[in-house]
């Protein structure tokens, strides 16, 4: 089911957390609300499920206006960060709870619980208490409870934050599998760009209560609208070079070195500040646009190695390379930038 948020405003006391936000989520789509903590992504999620009331704006599920509808009547399934399982009920009763409060028949409840338990692979755990489950199992139960009554919308609030690294990988694909299998419209709130990119059809990246960019993960990675988006996506993160506009193009700060500006970029007036963003995979020994620097940090990541290269003016570029380079800290290197992959940002941070 389609979700439309129109001119949504939310205040807590005197603080305006979200101001006039609009967002459309397509039916059957999985959308990530991505952003640093305090950006308003969980507030948006709680407004969609009705736990928080909106101070302004409208919320539509399909064509139905649910702005004033209580959370009980919105038919939204929510998975909370700490799973919020009811500790005094066993897994079966936890999953059956949404059906039980709707007074469905015992047989009907049993059929649906078994069905959903099979879908999320917890058929053998139904008699256990939440305290007897591992984190991943609790996660599956929470998912089953959210899905059992066939909600119109599934909301996931940082569902993987409490899991260890390995389980996180597993549950990432599991949640996506279940979402695709049920075809439900889902909203995932996360601060982890890897989660957002790997699980979702589209990402809405938020900062200070605004949606900064809304696009598919690949588009967002390759074509960020601002330095904030570019800096938020990608691991290891993008490196920025500070500088200003010069006759020759882009001149690095505190340095005589200039770099040519990629084609198709409208430069601001000469002398104004500017930033180049260079992702680690586009700063390699073989690339053409050479810069000189000294290796200041080496991090072995197993398959790959990450190098920090400090340029003469003190700026740092990152490079990620496959194993075997055998560079060491202190080595002088002259590596190249892939000139066509340089991201240029203006003085206000917007992409040029």
């Amino acid at each position: 089911m389609r979700i439309s948020i129109e001119n949504f405003t939310k205040t807590f006391g005197d603080t305006t957390v979200i101001d006039n936000m609009s967002l459309d989520i397509n039916s059957g789509e999985m959308l990530a609300l991505l952003g640093p903590s305090g950006c308003g992504k969980s507030t948006t999620l709680f407004a969609i499920c009705g736990i928080h009331r909106m101070n302004g704006g409208r919320l539509l599920f399909g064509d139905r206006d649910v702005t004033k509808v209580s959370s009980q009547k919105r038919n939204v399934g929510v998975v909370f960060q700490n799973y919020a399982l009811y500790p005094h009920m066993n897994v079966y009763d936890n999953i059956a709870f949404p059906l039980k409060v709707r007074k469905e028949s015992k047989a009907e409840i049993d059929r649906k619980v078994q069905e959903i338990a099979t879908l999320v692979h917890i058929g053998e755990l139904l008699q256990r208490r939440p305290a007897q489950l591992s984190g991943g199992q609790q996660q599956r139960v929470a998912l089953a409870r959210a899905l059992v009554r066939k909600p119109d919308i599934l909301l996931l609030d940082e569902p993987l934050a409490n899991l260890d690294a390995k389980l996180r990988l597993e549950m990432r694909s599991e949640i996506r599998r279940i979402q695709l299998q049920t075809g439900i419209t889902a909203v995932l709130v996360t601060h982890d760009q890897v989660e957002a990119m790997s699980m979702c059809d589209r990402i809405a990246i938020m900062d200070e209560g605004r949606i900064v960019q809304l696009s598919s993960p690949k588009e967002m990675y390759e074509d960020p609208s601002s330095d904030f988006v570019a800096g938020f996506l990608g691991n290891p993160p993008i490196a920025f070079l500070e500088g200003s506009v010069d006759e020759a193009g882009f001149r690095l700060a505190n340095s005589e070195v200039t770099l040519p500006v990629p084609a198709g970029i409208t430069l601001p007036g000469p002398g104004s500040a500017m930033r180049f963003g260079i992702r680690p995979e586009f700063f390699q020994p073989d690339n053409a646009l050479k810069v000189k620097g000294r290796i200041s940090f080496v991090e072995t990541q197993g398959r790959e190695e990450l190098y920090d290269v400090t340029l003469e003016n003190g700026a740092v570029l990152r490079s990620i390379q496959t194993q075997g380079g055998s560079y060491r800290v202190g080595d002088e290197v002259t590596w190249g930038i892939a000139a066509d992959r340089i991201l240029a940002f203006g003085p206000d941070g917007d992409r040029l």
Partner: protein, 433 residues
């Protein structure tokens, strides 16, 4: 032992002293007193040996032979120094001296023999028969109302009076005025109808007050949980007042409220209802007042404990139940109440214990009235042992009441401990907010 251990003990010692003085010693003394027949009459120190009319009745009831009883009452006529002195005073010294010379130390069994002996005196100074009878009576010796300080002196007197040896121990026992060890208190207590009435009253008191405490405390906690923070705090503060009010003041206000010239009567007189004492006019009113008085005090404690327990439920769990479709009532019934299970059990057991032994509010309000209708077990123990209208404080019997209460309390604690399974309670919860 390490120094730090001594320090811990030192910090603990005031508590240990308090536990010893105000718990252990009273319990031990209660046990001790309950196996005695101590009362105001016996005193708490030793006693003397006296046979009086009621003692004689007790001996009659015990089936002592009539001959022995007669021997006690009339132990014969003994010519001793005491009798001779009285004779000298009434009839002159020479008579007494002559009588002493002839008969000192003799015992006559019948008065006629004494009269004959007096008549046979050489000078025959007492001429009238009536005077002789009077003189003879001066030598009459009886065991009745004679005070002996030690059992040996009493037994000697019995022997002198010629009382059969088999009957003597019983007579000595009855004559003793001090307290003795006995287990009769228990049998006696349960043979009294009033004891069963006290038990019934206690059950009424505990069950109704406890239900009020827990249910009303629960209601307040849940109701204030859904109120905005400021209003909730104000409500809680108001309901907490009865607990922080001095008990005497609190009860005095209740009495003003219910007196025949008090608040209720005054208001109702405006509607033509004749004034009366709304606390004491019927048993039902007395019980209602007692339950309310104690209930309002107890409910505030439940309210505080339940409130904090509800706040300890993670907010996301309540959110989850809301988006799962649970209404407020379903949320309370399925999510909040099950998680208050332990606090409810704790308050129930704690309040049972304190209600079983508490009587101060009843004592101040109705003092067990009207007509013993609200006399609970603990109050009965207090009345019997320490504050008795009749004036004979029966320490032993009162202690027996108290001891039975202690035993019931201990059994109930053990039962609750089992029910709680305290080890489970102490395990750290594995699901954290």
């Amino acid at each position: 032992m390490q120094r730090s251990s001594w320090l811990g003990l030192a910090f603990l010692s005031p508590a240990l002293i308090v536990v010893f003085l105000f718990f252990l010693v009273p319990v031990v003394l209660t046990g001790f007193f309950s196996f005695t027949n101590m009362s105001t009459a016996t005193g708490v120190k030793g006693g003397a040996y006296v046979l009086n009319a009621s003692g004689l009745r007790a001996l009659t009831d015990a089936g002592l032979p009539k001959s022995t009883l007669e021997q006690i009452e009339g132990a014969g006529y003994r010519v001793d120094a005491k009798g001779l002195e009285a004779l000298a005073l009434d009839f002159g010294k020479p008579v007494a001296e002559e009588f002493a010379k002839l008969h000192e130390g003799e015992v006559f069994s019948k008065r006629r023999d004494v009269e004959r002996a007096l008549k046979d005196l050489r000078s025959n100074p007492i001429r009238k028969t009536r005077d002789r009878k009077q003189a003879a009576d001066l030598f009459k010796r009886s065991l009745m109302n004679e005070r002996f300080d030690s059992p040996t002196a009493f037994e000697a007197a019995l022997e002198e009076a010629g009382i059969p040896e088999t009957d003597r121990p019983l007579i000595t026992e009855v004559a003793y005025t001090g307290w003795v060890w006995t287990t009769d208190n228990f049998g006696f207590l349960f043979s009294l109808d009033s004891t069963w009435q006290y038990a019934k009253n206690t059950v009424i008191y505990v069950v109704f007050t406890l239900s009020f405490n827990v249910l009303f405390g629960l209601f307040l906690a849940i109701a204030t949980f859904y109120l905005p923070a400021g209003q909730a705090a104000a409500f809680r503060a108001i309901w907490f007042l009865p607990r922080i009010l001095p008990p005497v003041l609190y009860i005095v206000m209740w009495r003003w409220f219910t007196w025949d010239t008090g608040f209720i009567s005054t208001v109702l007189s405006g509607f033509g209802v004749p004034p009366r004492n709304w606390m004491l006019d019927t048993e039902f009113h007395a019980w209602t007042t007692i339950v309310l008085i104690n209930g309002f005090v107890g409910a505030s404690m439940g309210m505080i404990v339940f409130s904090s327990a509800i706040r300890a439920i993670p907010a996301s769990m309540l959110y989850a139940s809301e988006v799962d479709g649970a209404s407020r009532l379903q949320q309370i019934w399925y999510i909040i109440l099950p998680q208050l299970r332990w606090p409810i059990l704790f308050i129930t057991s704690y309040q049972t214990m304190s209600l079983l032994t508490s009587f101060e509010y009843i004592y101040l309000a109705t003092d067990g009235g009207p007509g013993g209708a609200t006399e609970v077990w603990a109050l009965a123990a207090f009345h019997t042992a320490l504050n008795n209208y009749g004036g004979n404080l029966q320490y032993g019997l009162g202690a027996t009441y108290a001891l039975i209460l202690v035993v019931i309390g201990l059994l109930a604690s053990l039962a609750y401990l089992r029910l709680f399974n305290f080890r489970n309670l102490l395990v750290k919860p594995r699901i954290e907010g």
